[in-house]
């Protein structure tokens, strides 16, 4: 399983989202190996990850990525929203977490 956080340059905000996801997975005691990475929206391709995290203003630039694997974060800094959306994926994929 691989997650990828995206932003315009793929340097700052996506990296922060990546670190937040990694911390969250640790908190949730996820044992399965989930890779988390970050990239710029321009070079992201559908085969790079199973789920892509991005803010709503970038949705129009993500035309080449499958819609059902895009996770739109309405706030990049809200831990509750991130937790809710990541847990939803874990449940859907049948990955154990606390």
């Amino acid at each position: 399983m691989k997650f990828e956080a995206l932003c315009q340059s793929g340097l700052g905000s996506s990296f922060m989202v990546q670190m937040n996801i990694q911390n969250l997975l640790k908190q949730e005691n996820v044992k399965e190996d989930i890779q988390v990475d970050h990239s710029d929206i321009g070079s992201a391709t559908p085969d790079q990850a199973d789920y892509f995290f991005l803010d709503p203003t970038l949705e129009t630039s993500a035309g080449n990525l499958p819609k059902d694997r895009l996770i739109i974060l309405n706030s990049l800094v809200d831990p509750n929203e991130l937790k809710e959306k990541v847990n939803a994926i874990l449940d859907k994929e049948g990955i154990e977490h606390s």
Binding site: L11, F15, D40, T57, L73, V77
Partner: protein
Amino acid sequence: MNGILNLFVSIVQSPAMLVGLLAVLGLILQKKKATEVIQGGIKTFVGFLVLTGGAGILSNALTPFAKMFKFALHVQGVVPSNEAVVAIALVKYGSVTALIMLVGMIVNILLARFTKFKYIFLTGQAMLYVSCLAAVILVSAGMGSGWQTILLGGLFEGTLLTVTPALCQPFMRKITGGDTVAMGHTGNIGYAIAGWCGKLFGNSKHSTEDIEFPKALGFLRDSTVSITLLMGIVYIVLAIVAGPHFVETKLSAGTNYIIYAFIQAGTFAAGFAVVLQGVRLILAEIVPAFQGIAMKLVPNSKPALDVPIIFPYAPNAVLLGFFVSFLVGTISMFIMVGMHTTVIIPGVVGHFFCGAAAAIYGNAFGGRRGAVIGSAVNGLLISWLPLYILPVLGDLKMAASTFADTDYLIPGILLGKLGSFGSVALTCGIIGFTVVVILVSVLMKSPKQAENK
């Protein structure tokens, strides 16, 4: 003995080795497993070499640009792009930059720990780029590349990045509706000015978010696409003005001049993408290490984060700001052509991020009028100030690219001007800057939000 000394000096002088070792140090401090330490060290080491490769591609695309510009308009043409100028500068100033960044992180932690400025600056690429700016200016001012430059550069970088988030915080509270995060970007001075302009001249009754705004411009957020398109237009116009004869005999070895120009524009975008990848690899281990250590050492610190975190709060202002800022940049460019000065081409990435953020800040207290005024004022700053930073950048003065955002331009110009009075002035200036920041913190009332908690 000499062999060992030479080995040590060689490591310090090869920035790729040096950043790799810094990453290893960070990973060991976090008590990571041996495999993770090796993996992280190697990726950081290779990351620097990727970045250097990207710098080569960018230079290859910028050389014909500079030649066509010179031939067509008889003046120097410059595209401000932080990524491009830093990548090119790191080839020469890499080691000093890496060490300045390390000192800067320590200064940031110390100031955040012991003053009322609780901001931990977590935007890794901005730390790297400001360190590079400090290295270039101090070395060009004749400070050498020894410990004085590293300590002073680090003090400058660390202090600057601790206080610039404070300038933006009153507006951040309004924009995000909370006080948990701060702005950690390199346009902070411009954003604060935009915010104040919005407050003074705007009207908060009409927010940008009430207008129906065409979303069609949204695809320009893909930097590869927008850089290629914009640079394509610039290169092709230059090729037409320089004429097919000049391009095909002097530059393209017979290839059609329009096609050649468009391929060079694409090459610039390609170099940009490679540099981004290099920066990403360099920072992949260093930023989490810094975050982990800083958060542990500084209780109730506030993370200063990269600029797009505010974009979802005002998506209309993002597009409006980009449009206004870019327009101001384009008009400024034509005025410069008329004035026969060096010509600053509006860089699409700089105008996007800084224009968008300036509009959001202007909108915060000044609505749509505030957004337009804020992004226009910021647009003027980033269009004209590059003219004044070029002379203080030493051998980078003639490069076809330069720094793009206000927090490089304004402090960089001031630092460079100090440098022209010699190294004593520089030393006093930088130490004075830090002392002033500490004094302000001592005299400042405790921020309100701390009491509310």
